[in-house]
């Protein structure tokens, strides 16, 4: 990895990374990829999020769905672990709770393939500071 040598350097890298990510997340085109984030904090892992993540990676590949599965930290919904967030190209991210492999299968088949929402959505109930920033 090359070192970041100045603030300007840092800002440039940030710009590049942001556009790369927004291209990936926000693109409406069919080429846009599905993004799945699995909450992999201690409580998530304890309730089986690791298995869910592995399942997602394997199954999405088996079913030839172009998707990126990444891990993330605690989303705060400890009561509903494991939780995952699914972003389809062009739509708002949706968080699902109590996800096991069965539920994951349903999410892949119904939501990711057909954009049909599945039971078990966790409504996001907070504001982020980024949103505030845009105002």
């Amino acid at each position: 990895m090359t070192k970041i040598k100045s603030l300007a350097d840092l800002k440039k890298i940030k710009g590049d990374l942001q556009s790369k990510i927004s291209l990936r997340e926000k693109s409406d085109t069919p080429e846009g990829r599905v993004l799945v984030k699995v909450a992999m904090a201690t409580c998530g892992i304890a309730s089986g999020s690791k298995e869910v993540m592995e399942y997602m990676i394997d199954e999405l590949e088996k079913r030839s769905i172009d998707a990126i599965v990444t891990q993330t930290g605690c989303m705060g919904y400890c009561y509903a672990e494991p939780t995952i967030e699914v972003s389809l190209p062009g739509s708002e991210p949706v968080v699902y709770g109590y996800v096991d492999t069965k539920k994951a299968d349903e999410i892949i088949e119904k939501y990711i393939r057909n954009q049909e929402l599945v039971d078990g959505i966790i409504p996001v109930n907070y504001q982020t500071i980024e949103k505030d920033k845009e105002e």
């Binding site: 201690t42 409580c43 892992i45 304890a46 309730s47 919904y77 400890c78 009561y79 509903a80 672990e81």
Partner: protein, 163 residues
């Protein structure tokens, strides 16, 4: 005082000495070295503490004072399947005590001890930070959430045939 001295494996002692060296044999690194020692030996018997004291050039009394201060360090070997019951507040109000009692009843050992066959040991720990799953029980690295008194025997059953 125990008259029989525990024999340590030479390779383990060498590894411990290497660890101490990697910390420059600094007395200030005592806790870090003890962590590593517990990883190597599984627990911290007197003989291990004596090696640590020697390597870091601190008194054995001091090492023992530190070992007995921190609950993470143990001088007793744990069971092959160490059971830790979280007794943090969230788990407490959701019935951790009853779960603990059930483990004690079924295994017939008190907290802090190991079953005669060396298979299970019971300890309590304070909040693993998985309060959403309260009450929480850990067996080795595996975490069990929302454990009920009924669930206790099922957990133990999982380890019945593994050996």
């Amino acid at each position: 005082m125990t008259s029989i001295k525990l024999k340590l494996k030479e390779s383990d002692v060498q590894q411990l000495k290497k660890v101490a060296k990697s910390f420059n044999n600094e007395p200030g690194e005592l806790i870090n070295v003890l962590h590593k020692a517990q990883e190597i030996f599984g627990y911290l018997p007197a003989e291990v503490q004596e090696v640590v004291a020697q390597e870091l050039n601190v008194s054995v009394a001091k090492v023992y004072g530190v070992v007995t201060f921190y609950s993470f360090f143990t001088m007793l070997p744990r069971g092959r399947y160490p059971i830790s019951i979280c007794t943090g507040t969230a788990c407490y109000v959701r019935g951790a005590e009853k779960v603990l009692d059930e483990f004690k009843r079924l295994l017939k050992v008190p907290v802090g001890e190991t079953t005669p066959d060396g298979k299970f040991s019971i300890t309590c720990l304070r909040c693993v930070g998985a309060c959403g799953l309260a009450p929480v029980v850990m067996v080795g690295d595996k975490t069990y959430g929302r454990v009920t008194t009924d669930g206790v025997k099922d957990i133990l059953k999982e380890y019945e045939d593994v050996e």
